[in-house]
Structures are given as structure tokens and as C-alpha cells.
């Protein structure tokens, strides 16, 4: 079959061991010396009949032989996954007793302080789970703790994926799915902790009612439709309940399965290391190592959650009392993953509300709640596509980046985290004010300023740190690692012996490529006659952003540079310290290199020589 020329060629023929001189793909497979397989192994008889009807053996062959790389940071996603499973198990337990009703009852249970108090059935049944059902309190605590670990796991996992560049092609779709999952997890959590209808969660629902009302044009209608009338009504708990136990979990589990499939299809990413390339995956097979480790880890996560649930109290709803719209306690905070939104509400000044033609636009509320939440997740979701557009990188990536090797991305990520943290801390400004003995007004003003100033500082600091770490890597490759052995020369000078890295130690420090700004590769903006090339606005923006991303990049050491350094080293040993001093002056001091031209020039020089 002929292919048309505009269809890109498949990359199959370029891969594999026959790709000639390309050094990066010549990888030796380790001899699997301790082959413990039995040559006369028999296909298990039990599976036979099932296999005849389903083709199970082929699927098992595919599954059991899958290789997964090993790294502690890959466990973060597993924490989220297992916590979700724990929530499903314990949540099912809770549904057997929880009554999602706002019907009014008078409490007559075993918790004496609330005897005779009027409350909703939801709250009363939560008290019953805590006090009457044997082991019910443990299940409640497990459910709440696992929900928190779920969101923490997702956040840490997302950070790992972001900072290592794992979201790059071909995994952008999976990143988007993960982003949706994290949004759903936060909403699921909010819906869940709102259900007991205690004073704290009721205050949260009251605030949610206020957020919804702030939506321009549709706000009032939206609120009345969600609450089934004016606040509080008797519909919101049943509706949150069905969302919490059916709608959102169904979507969560469905998307989670898709997330797993899209991990398996391109095979898991791995960290840079000797023998690891974009064309292979190095790790442990499911049978037996990965199955034992991952399966065991489920029990570890569950076990730790159980220990925490046994010893650390969470959400003691009986202390808060039933919801009463006329009451509130100081120190009313939502669960931590909603802090940033509530914090934004505390920081946004009132003057953002205005009237237009007699209609009210409450931007002081809308921006921090209904707009902020989707906005954060939208930015997260489009980031891979934005970066690919800016950098023009359309290649498949399976080897992860060390965060330092993508300084601008790492700096942007840390700056974003700092903004998030400012908002999150603003949510506990009242607690902070008490604990630190500060004025809450001063703290709030400080947070308002920090929200804008801190990310800028963090951006520059982190970027500089990354560049320094990259320079450190270069230093280590060029001059070896410090041995701590100090040698005295016959002249009486001292120097420390540096030991050159072997090829295996060196590889993770030199494997990465150094992209250059688009402007440098497509030529200058004006031709040889000084006429500016017409450039679309988008292309101009892209160039500027590309330059922003890559202009400071520091490239990895090349063999030529290393050879040159070794030569210097030999001189050093032969000629004594004077020559060494001369050589040191040969390079520009690091502090002089804002754009790190030194290194780029150095590469060019190395190439020419």
C-alpha cells in the first residue's frame, strides 16, 4: 500500500538496534543470570477452560510480563489510588447507616450532651455511626483520613509528573484526565464532608450558597435550583449525597480506569539512568516483583491509614453540634484542599463588588470561588499544550527530566505553588493570628501583597537554584567528585583529589539535551538587508516565550569538553598550581554569566576545536 507524502512516516523503522551510529540506542540487555523459570512449567489446568472461552492466557501473558520502573516518587500516585479504594470500601460501610435527610428529629442516643437537642436526621445518623454502631467511628475516621490522603496523594503525584516533565507527549491526554480527576476529588471531598450537617459543614454549605449567588446573571437561579429553593431548604443534603456516593464516584472510577490504561499503553516513564532510553522501559515485571511490591504497598497504605485513624481524631462532629444558621465558631476552616478557595475569599477586597444598570456584580466573591476553582484546573489542564507550543517540542518523551534540567518550568511550578500556599495560608489567617500573636488585619494585608510578590521572588530564586545545580552537575562531570583526600605537592601546596566519574555515574548528568529558543533556530527577525520579516503576532509571542523558556539554558557536558578538562587536569598535575591558577582564569566567572553564554560559547568552542 502506498502512503501519501504528507502523512508523517511511522517511527518504527527508526527504532531498535539497527539504527546505526546513534549511540543512545545501543543498549545492552542485562543477562538474566538467575533464571528461576522451570523448563517443564505446566499451564495451570484451572485456567484452561476459561482460556478456551475468553483467551485469558494471552491477556495474562501481556499483563504478567509488563515491566514497571521502580522509584519512590512513582508511589505517590499509588497512594492516591489506594486511598480511593479505601474510601470506596469504608464509604460503602457508612452508607448502610447514614440517613441523607434534613428531616428534623430530636436526638435520643447515647451521647449525653446532645440528648434532647433538635437536629437533622443526617446529623443524628452520623452520631449513631460514631456512638452506636460498633466500629463505626473507626470506619468514619478511616473514610475521612483516606479522603485526605487521596487528595494529598493526587497533589504530590501531580507535582511529580509536572516537575519531571512526564506530562509531555505522548502523555498529555493522561495529564488532562488526571487534572479532571483531581478536580473531581476535591468536589467529592467537599460533598462528603458537607453531609453530616454539623455546625462546621453547615457553615461550609452556607458559604457555598453565597458563592453561587454571586455568579453574574444566573447566580440566583442557580442557587435556587441547586438548593431547591431558598437556603437551607431540605434538598441540599440528599442532593450532595447522591452526588457523593454515585455520580462523582462513578465518573472518578471511570476516569481512573482510563488513567491506568493510558499509563500502560505507552508504558511507564522512567528516570534517566544508564541503559534507559526513550525506546525502552527498565524495571521489574509484574510477576512476581511488581505484584508483590504494589500489592504490598496497598496494605501498607491501608495499614498506616488505620493506625492514623485509630490514634488521631478527625472531624469530631459531636463537638460541633448540629447546624444552626444563627451560630458559627471562630476557626471555621474547610478541609485543606478547599483552603485556597476560602483563602481567596478572605483576601479579595470588598470594592470588587459593583453595580451595573442596577444589577449587582460581586467580583469579591465570584473571583475567589466560582471562577478560581475552574481557572486553576483549566491552567493545569492546558499547560502541556502550552509548553509544547512554546518550545516546539513534538517528540515522544519517555525518559523523565530532572527538575533542574527544565529551570523555567520548575520555577513556574514553584511560583504557582507559592501562590497556592499564600491563598491556603490566608484561609487560616485567624488561627495564625492567634498562634503567632499578630493582628489579623496585618496578616491579611501581608497575604494580599504576598500573593503578587512572592511568586516573582520564588520564580527567580528557583530558576537560579536550578541553573546552579546544573552548573554543579557540569562541574562534577568535568572535574570529578570530591574524595576528601588532600594531597600535598612537593612545593608544599595542598589540593584535594577529585575522582573522575565512571560512565554510569556520569550518564544521568549528561544525558539531557539543551533546547534553544525558536528565534535562534529559525534565524534572526530581519533578513540580511535589515528588512524585518513579517511575523504573525502569535509567532512573535511564541518566539518571546520560547526565549523566556530557553535563553538561559545550560547544556550538558560533551565528550570534547570533558577531554579538554582532562587535559587541563593533567597539566595541573604536571605543572603545579601556577598553571592551575592560569587555567581557572581561563574561564569567565560564573557570576558574570546572566545568560550563561559562557557555557554555550564553550560548547561552540569545543565543537570547533
Amino acid at each position: 500500500m502506498s502512503t501519501t507524502s504528507h502523512v508523517p512516516q511511522g517511527a518504527h523503522h527508526l527504532r531498535g538496534d539497527d539504527s546505526g551510529g546513534e549511540a543512545t540506542t545501543t543498549v545492552t540487555v542485562p543477562p538474566y543470570s538467575s533464571d528461576q523459570g522451570d523448563k517443564d512449567a505446566k499451564f495451570p489446568k484451572v485456567i484452561g477452560p476459561v482460556d478456551e472461552r475468553t483467551g485469558l492466557a494471552a491477556a495474562m501473558r501481556f499483563g504478567l510480563g509488563k515491566v514497571f520502573p521502580d522509584h519512590w516518587s512513582f508511589l505517590l500516585g499509588e497512594i492516591a489510588m489506594y486511598s480511593m479504594v479505601i474510601c470506596l470500601i469504608t464509604g460503602t460501610f457508612l452508607t448502610l447507616w447514614f440517613v441523607p435527610s434534613m428531616g428534623h428529629v430530636t436526638y435520643d442516643g447515647s451521647y449525653v450532651p446532645l440528648k434532647g437537642v433538635g437536629m437533622s436526621e443526617a446529623y443524628a445518623s452520623t452520631l449513631d455511626i460514631s456512638f452506636e454502631v460498633k466500629g463505626g467511628l473507626l470506619m468514619r475516621q478511616l473514610h475521612h483520613w483516606a479522603a485526605l490522603f487521596f487528595v494529598v496523594g493526587i497533589a504530590l503525584h501531580a507535582a511529580r509528573v509536572f516537575f519531571t516533565g512526564a506530562f509531555r507527549k505522548p502523555r498529555e491526554i493522561n495529564w488532562v484526565i488526571g487534572v479532571v480527576l483531581s478536580l473531581l476529588a476535591a468536589i467529592e471531598g467537599f460533598a462528603g464532608y458537607s453531609l453530616p450537617d454539623d455546625l462546621l459543614s453547615g457553615t461550609g454549605i452556607r458559604a457555598m450558597n453565597g458563592f453561587m449567588m454571586s455568579a453574574p446573571i444566573i447566580g440566583t437561579w442557580l442557587t435556587f435550583f441547586v438548593f431547591g429553593g431558598e437556603f437551607p431548604g431540605e434538598m441540599i443534603i440528599p442532593r450532595l449525597y447522591i452526588a457523593h456516593v454515585l455520580l462523582i464516584p462513578a465518573i472518578l472510577v471511570g476516569l481512573f480506569v482510563a488513567h491506568l490504561i493510558l499509563i500502560v499503553l505507552p508504558k511507564h516513564t522512567h528516570y534517566p539512568g544508564p541503559g534507559r532510553t526513550d525506546d525502552n522501559v527498565v524495571g521489574f515485571p509484574v510477576m512476581p516483583v511488581y505484584a508483590a511490591k504494589a500489592g504490598g504497598f496497598f496494605f501498607v497504605v491501608f495499614g498506616i491509614t488505620a493506625l492514623v485513624s485509630a490514634l488521631v481524631q478527625i472531624n469530631p462532629v459531636w463537638v460541633f453540634g448540629p447546624y444552626d444558621p444563627t451560630q458559627v465558631t471562630a476557626g471555621s476552616q474547610p478541609d485543606f484542599y478547599m483552603w485556597f478557595s476560602d483563602g481567596a475569599l478572605r483576601l479579595l477586597p470588598g470594592w470588587l463588588e459593583f453595580s451595573l444598570f442596577g444589577t449587582v456584580w460581586s467580583m469579591n466573591i465570584f473571583l475567589g470561588s466560582l471562577l478560581l476553582l475552574p481557572l486553576v484546573w483549566l491552567i493545569l489542564g492546558i499547560y502541556p499544550f502550552l509548553e509544547a507550543w512554546i518550545t516546539g517540542d513534538r517528540r515522544d518523551h519517555h525518559v523523565l527530566q530532572r527538575p533542574r534540567n527544565a529551570p523555567v518550568r520548575t520555577a513556574i511550578g514553584m511560583a504557582a505553588i507559592s501562590m497556592y500556599l499564600v491563598l491556603a495560608l490566608a484561609c487560616i489567617n485567624d488561627i495564625l493570628a492567634i498562634k503567632l500573636g499578630l493582628s489579623i488585619n496585618d496578616l491579611t494585608v501581608l497575604f494580599r501583597i504576598s500573593f503578587f510578590v512572592l511568586p516573582v521572588i520564588v520564580y527567580f530564586v528557583v530558576k537560579r537554584l536550578c541553573l546552579s545545580l546544573q552548573r554543579h552537575d557540569r562541574e562534577k562531570v568535568l572535574h570529578g567528585s570530591e574524595t576528601g583526600r588532600v594531597v600535598r605537592t612537593p612545593e608544599g601546596r595542598f589540593f584535594e583529589v577529585h575522582e573522575p566519574l565512571d560512565a554510569y555515574e556520569r550518564w544521568p548528568l549528561v544525558y539531557y539535551d539543551t533546547p534553544r529558543p525558536i528565534g535562534e533556530t529559525v534565524g534572526p527577525a530581519s533578513d540580511q538587508h535589515g528588512v524585518r520579516r513579517p511575523l504573525a503576532a502569535a509567532a512573535g509571542l511564541r518566539r518571546a516565550l520560547s526565549s523566556f523558556y530557553y535563553k538561559d539554558s545550560i547544556s550538558a557536558v560533551t565528550p570534547a569538553e570533558l577531554a579538554a578538562a582532562h587535559q587541563h587536569g593533567e597539566h595541573e598535575a604536571l605543572d603545579g598550581p601556577e598553571v592551575a591558577a592560569a587555567i581557572e582564569q581561563h574561564g569567565a566567572p560564573v557570576s558574570e554569566a546572566p545568560g550563561d553564554d559562557y557555557y554555550r560559547d564553550g560548547i561552540k568552542a569545543g565543537r570547533h576545536s
Partner: protein, 357 residues
């Protein structure tokens, strides 16, 4: 690294690069070379699994033997429900025993030589793509959609509309549309101000300087409200009728309107925050500030409850009050503006109640 490009890469490919050195030699673990170390590891794994089994049994024993009300104190934690703690600890050990045992087994005794699998581009082959193109084209033409645009159009219309009969009743049935609920409260002229939850009326002469009351309208107080009006109405009333009553020194009140709507320095304000509706529960007697604990909006009682800090925009609405013939505080009128959080139609009720305005 340039082998997988299908667009121009921006990487400086010209430079020479280090070659991937391949896998480092495998370093055997102790258990690989020392049989007694392997045996020790095996014993440890068995011990962990056994511990798990024992903990599971301990959980069951505890579940049936320990009194669920049993309390005791644990150093560093304080008084706890021991039944709960023992259940949680035994469950945790039962789970951790399995988990740690399996991980330890994998790390010490299972093969630790890494395996290699080749990756393959996810892109389908050109043949597959061609075939898909052919199938789509055949399907399109085979169903004559390319010629019979009427079918295309009507099918598209039908598919576009079929979901509406399913969706519209759901959405439209969710709630009543808003009408006057947000503009009205249960406060009416002549209704006494009652202390909540005791339900006592307030005699103006008995209100001392600086005292604060949480107030509800007559007939909407305490359990009686739930019995008379039902829980839903009573909760709605609590959400919007709540009022905070304070007696100030009339000389420190800066607003003439505030003085006029009050009675000898006794002023009544809606307790529902104009930000997102939390009760504005903290009154600072010295500064005469009202603070909302939710988001720290601060209102100045001497300035007609104007916002002096925080995210709220509007002052708290004031309830005009006076005294009846017996000297008890009563409402002169309902609130003259909507209480609580802002909403789009707040200043134009006609948008919600077009037939009534």
C-alpha cells in the same frame, strides 16, 4: 536523541554527545550470595505475615470482648475510647503485616535484576490509517449521507434534540424559581424582638449599656418555631431573620439614620453577613466592631455597620425598631433592603418578580 523527531527539533543536534553506557553490572544482594542471609529474610517475612494473622484474630476478639464504651487514657493523646483505639491498632497491624511482609519479600528474595521491555510508538501503522480512512469513506457513502442531505440534516436535528426531554424536566424540576424570598423576611411592623433561644421579649428600659442580644421575631423562636412552622420554614427563618441587638451610647452613633431607626441607642442589625451569609457573631464591646468569623468582614456599629475591613462590600441592613405600649422592643417595619449575600437582581427586584412590579 533525534531519531524520534517528526517535526523540526530545536535541539542542538550537531554537537557530539556522550553515549549511553548501557546497564551497569548487577550487584548481588546479600541474600543472593549468602544462603543464611536469605534464610533470615525468609524468617522475617514469615514473621510479618504471622503477625498480621495474629492481629486479625486480636481484632475479632477485641470486637466481641471489649466494651464499646470503655474509656482510658493514652500517654500523649489523653482520654480516648479504648475500644476504638484497639480496633484501629489491630486492624492497622493486620494490614501492615501483610504489606511490609510482601514488600520485604520482594526486596530481599525476589529477583532484583531489572528487565527491559522495548517501547513502540503508539501511532497506528499507515495501513491502519488508510484502512480507517477507507472505512469511514465507505460508511459515509454507503449510507448515502453524501447525497441525501435531508437525512443528514434531520438525523442531526433529531440527535441534537432527543436529550432535551430527558434533561429539561430534571433541570427545571430541581427547584422553584426565585421570586420574592430574597427580599422578604418574617419581620413585620409591630412584631416583638425576642431573645433567642429563650423566647423572652425585651423591655427597652432593662437593656443596659453595652449589652448584646441575639434576637428573632416573635413567633419564630426556639423549638416552638419548629413545631408551629415545620423544620424547613424554621431553618429558613433562622437563616434570614436573625438580628443582633446592641445598646450603644447614643452620642457615639455617627449616623442620624441609625439613631432614628434605633431606640435610645438600642440598634438592631441583620446578623447575616453581606459577604456569603455567615452569622456575624463576634461583637467587640470596646471598639463597637462586629466581626464575621468566616472571612473576617468587620463592620463598625458606630457608623451604621459600614464595612471597615474584609471582603464584604455592603453594610449590614438595619432593622427599624421602637417600643410598644408595654415598653417592649418591636419592629417598626421589616428590613427595607434584602439581607445577606449579594445577588445579581438585588437592586432590581423586577427582574425576578416582573408580574408584581
Amino acid at each position: 536523541m533525534s531519531t524520534h523527531d517528526n517535526t523540526p527539533a530545536l535541539v542542538d543536534d550537531a554537537q557530539d554527545r556522550f553515549a549511553n553506557p548501557g546497564f551497569p553490572p548487577h550487584v548481588p544482594r546479600r541474600a543472593d550470595v549468602d544462603e543464611s542471609a536469605a534464610n533470615r529474610a525468609s524468617v522475617q517475612v514469615v514473621a510479618l505475615f504471622t503477625l498480621s494473622a495474629l492481629a486479625s484474630i486480636a481484632f475479632l476478639v477485641a470486637y466481641f470482648v471489649i466494651d464499646p464504651e470503655l474509656r482510658g487514657s493514652i500517654i500523649g493523646i489523653g482520654e480516648v475510647n479504648l475500644f476504638h483505639v484497639v480496633l484501629g491498632l489491630t486492624m492497622g497491624v493486620s494490614l501492615l503485616g501483610i504489606g511490609l511482609g510482601a514488600v520485604h519479600w520482594a526486596k530481599t528474595l525476589m529477583p532484583d535484576e531489572e528487565m527491559v521491555e522495548q517501547r513502540h510508538s503508539l501511532r497506528s501503522s499507515d495501513e491502519d490509517r488508510q484502512e480507517v480512512a477507507r472505512q469511514l469513506s465507505h460508511g459515509w457513502r454507503g449510507s448515502q449521507l453524501n447525497r441525501r442531505t435531508a437525512i443528514l440534516g434531520s438525523a442531526g436535528g433529531a440527535l441534537g434534540l432527543f436529550a432535551l426531554p430527558l434533561v429539561v424536566p430534571v433541570v427545571a424540576g430541581l427547584g422553584p424559581r426565585p421570586r420574592d424570598e430574597l427580599y422578604t423576611t418574617n419581620w413585620e411592623p409591630g412584631l416583638r424582638l425576642m431573645i433567642d433561644p429563650s423566647g423572652a421579649p425585651i423591655r427597652a428600659a432593662d437593656v443596659t449599656q453595652g449589652s448584646v442580644f441575639h434576637v428573632m421575631p416573635e413567633g419564630w423562636v426556639g423549638d416552638e418555631a419548629f413545631e408551629v412552622h415545620g423544620a424547613e420554614e424554621a431553618m429558613a427563618s433562622k437563616s434570614k431573620d436573625q438580628v443582633i441587638l446592641v445598646k450603644l451610647d447614643p452620642s457615639i452613633i455617627n449616623s442620624q439614620k441609625q439613631r432614628d431607626w434605633g431606640y435610645e441607642g438600642i440598634v438592631a442589625y441583620s446578623k447575616v453577613c453581606t459577604h456569603v451569609g455567615c452569622p456575624v457573631a463576634l461583637y467587640e464591646q470596646q471598639t463597637h466592631h462586629l466581626l464575621c468569623p468566616c472571612h473576617q468582614s468587620t463592620f463598625d456599629m458606630t457608623e451604621d455597620c459600614k464595612v471597615i475591613f474584609g471582603p464584604a462590600k455592603r453594610p449590614l441592613p438595619q432593622l427599624p425598631i421602637s417600643v410598644d405600649d408595654e415598653g417592649y422592643l418591636v419592629a417598626v417595619d421589616g428590613f427595607r433592603e434584602p439581607i445577606g449575600p449579594s445577588f445579581f437582581e438585588r437592586e432590581r427586584p423586577g427582574l425576578l418578580m416582573e408580574d408584581e412590579s
